[in-house]
């Protein structure tokens, strides 16, 4: 039963997303969508001293994708790139507390992570091609 998916905290992040908006001085902005349902996420990143100095997201979509994006921004704000780079699918699912999603809904939960990784590929591409490649390979997994 899915009642436990739609716990208070998910509905709260869905209805009151954190870090929602644009960054005008972003180092990277990246967009992707889920062809399944049309959910869209944009992520804006500001990096300073190899840290996520600021992050904002825009998006529209289901409670899972939007709450997951909101929670992801909280999770990585002020974190060093080196650790953000290694965030896995499971980290996200644990973070949002949804370990039992089916194959379709899991894509909703992971859309923001996919966008984040694509953003990091873009960020690294001139600065650190090896890291770019690693992140790109990871991001193909979902």
């Amino acid at each position: 039963m899915s009642d436990d998916i739609y716990r208070e905290i998910i509905l709260d992040h869905y209805r009151n997303p954190r870090n929602k908006g644009k960054l005008t001085d972003a180092d990277v902005t990246i967009h992707d969508s889920n062809p399944l349902c049309g959910d869209e996420i944009d992520i804006h990143l500001k990096v300073e001293e190899d840290k996520i100095k600021d992050i904002k997201f825009e998006g529209r979509g289901c409670a899972i994708s939007q709450a997951s994006a909101s929670m992801l921004t909280e999770m990585i704000l002020n974190k060093p790139l080196s650790s953000v780079k290694n965030i896995t699918k499971d980290d996200i699912l644990e973070n949002i507390g949804l370990m039992n999603l089916g194959p379709a809904r899991i894509k909703c939960a992971l859309l923001s992570l996919k966008v984040l990784k694509l953003g990091m590929v873009k960020y690294y591409s001139d600065r650190d091609p090896v890291a770019a490649k690693q992140v790109r390979d990871d991001s193909k997994l979902y």
């Binding site: 039963m1 399944l36 349902c37 959910d39 809904r105």
Partner: protein, 415 residues
């Protein structure tokens, strides 16, 4: 309660094995995703198994018994389809993989030769991606222009737009869906075809949603091309149909090249096969074409008028019931005679995707998303809708349970 339905639904339901399926342990399946694909009766499933168990063989080119039986059965479906849509001849029926490939066949074999720089293709804002993307690709390649007829919020077309485009004398093709797969709106295509023909313009009808749900007569409507899919009308996946008027087909260049579509191949030249084989290359989807024949038989036995009547009844009941649920917005025509049994809606701020998940808890399969009609979604300023769509085996009780599940979803989302 008096049975006043156009169909004997409880008898029909016995023919569909999947309707005995349980979801989430003990919930009976309520399948309301028929606009995406329909379920299959025993007779269709058995026709496929029977082919593989008794006379599986490649066709057209061999003389042994199995090949003869398979060829006859395969060609029989072509005849059944010709009758079903009232084509002049089975030669006007081409088998493809699905409606999408059928539309692309027209774009490759006909439009690439007949549409050039500055020409215009007219479609509408309600089109499925399958009737948009092929024309975008063609437009890019040929520097032709794609124009979208506007629709109002209910999906009714602007005929003013249409006349204006036709007057321009640049239009080479009109391609429209007879029924919207999102709003259910039925488009007055006979009138549109007449107007185009008065200007000597060809018309393709996307019949993916209409052919399965109402009587369709290609000679009466006089379209030049029509595309539809077996899987949306009780048939197997992997089979689509392209109907083309024979005099047009005779002039079309081949699409897929290979075995079966040729008469003679030499190093430097090839003589193509007679119609319709020229457009069917390689080993066809023999089993599923035969299976589709059984689906046509099933629908013929019920009668397409009765199918349409049943769906009008269901639509009316569903709209009435939905209107009573707090927070629900229904899209598409409110008059059930102007629409098919496809109902898109939203409820409060519950995203359709989330709603579909909650409905699934109750064993109810509905669709959510953009329904492969993003241009329409943009037009309606929606990112997604929920969609319930009905077919011959659906009942009013199922609609009642669907409504109960909606109320339950409202509670989960605290609205």
């Amino acid at each position: 309660m008096m049975q006043k339905s156009a169909l004997n639904v409880s008898k029909i339901r016995e023919d569909f094995p999947i309707l005995r399926r349980k979801i989430n342990g003990n919930k009976a399946l309520i399948y309301l995703d028929n606009a995406a694909t329909t379920q299959k009766p025993h007779s269709v499933i058995n026709a496929i198994s029977d082919y593989y168990m008794n006379y599986n063989s490649n066709i057209h080119r061999a003389v042994h018994q199995l090949a003869e039986e398979a060829t006859v059965a395969y060609e029989m479906t072509r005849e059944k389809i010709a009758k079903f849509i009232n084509a002049r001849s089975p030669n006007e029926i081409i088998f493809t993989r699905n409606a999408t490939e059928a539309i692309n066949l027209v774009s490759y074999s006909w439009a690439r030769r007949n549409i050039g720089k500055g020409d215009v293709i007219v479609i509408t804002e309600i089109e499925h991606h399958s009737n948009i993307v092929p024309w975008q690709i063609l437009g890019d390649e040929k520097a032709a222009k794609l124009e979208y007829l506007r629709v109002d919020d209910r999906g009714y077309l602007s005929f003013q737009d249409y006349e204006r485009y036709l007057q321009s004398n640049k239009v080479k093709l009109v391609s429209v869906s007879q029924m919207s797969n999102v709003l259910g709106t039925i488009i007055p295509i006979e009138q549109m075809i007449k107007m185009a023909h008065d200007k000597g313009i060809q018309v393709l009808i996307d019949g993916a949603q209409s052919v399965p749900h109402m009587p369709v007569n290609v000679q009466k409507m006089d379209c030049d091309f029509m595309a539809f899919s077996a899987h949306k009308m009780l048939g197997p996946t992997g089979v689509g149909v392209l109907y083309v008027k024979e005099e047009i087909l005779e002039k079309m260049s081949p699409f897929i090249g290979g075995g079966d579509m040729i008469k003679e191949v030499h190093k430097d030249r090839t003589v193509y096969n007679d119609l319709p084989y020229k457009f069917e290359a390689g080993t066809p989807n023999i089993a599923d074409v035969i299976g589709f024949g059984a689906a046509i038989d099933y629908l013929q036995a019920i009668g397409m008028n009765a199918v349409r009547e049943h769906e009008i009844e269901m639509t009316k009941y569903a709209i009435k019931s939905l209107e009573r649920v707090k927070g629900v917005t229904i899209y598409g025509p409110s008059n059930e005679n102007h629409r098919g049994a496809v109902i898109s809606f939203n409820i409060g701020d519950i995203h359709p995707h989330d709603l579909a998940t909650l409905m699934n808890d109750q064993g109810i399969a509905i669709r959510s998303g953009h329904h492969c009609a993003q241009v329409l979604m943009d037009r309606l300023d929606l990112s997604a809708t929920s969609r319930a769509s009905f077919y011959i085996y659906n009942t009013k009780q199922e609609i009642d349970m669907f409504i109960d599940a909606l109320e339950r979803a409202r509670k989960v989302f605290r609205i």
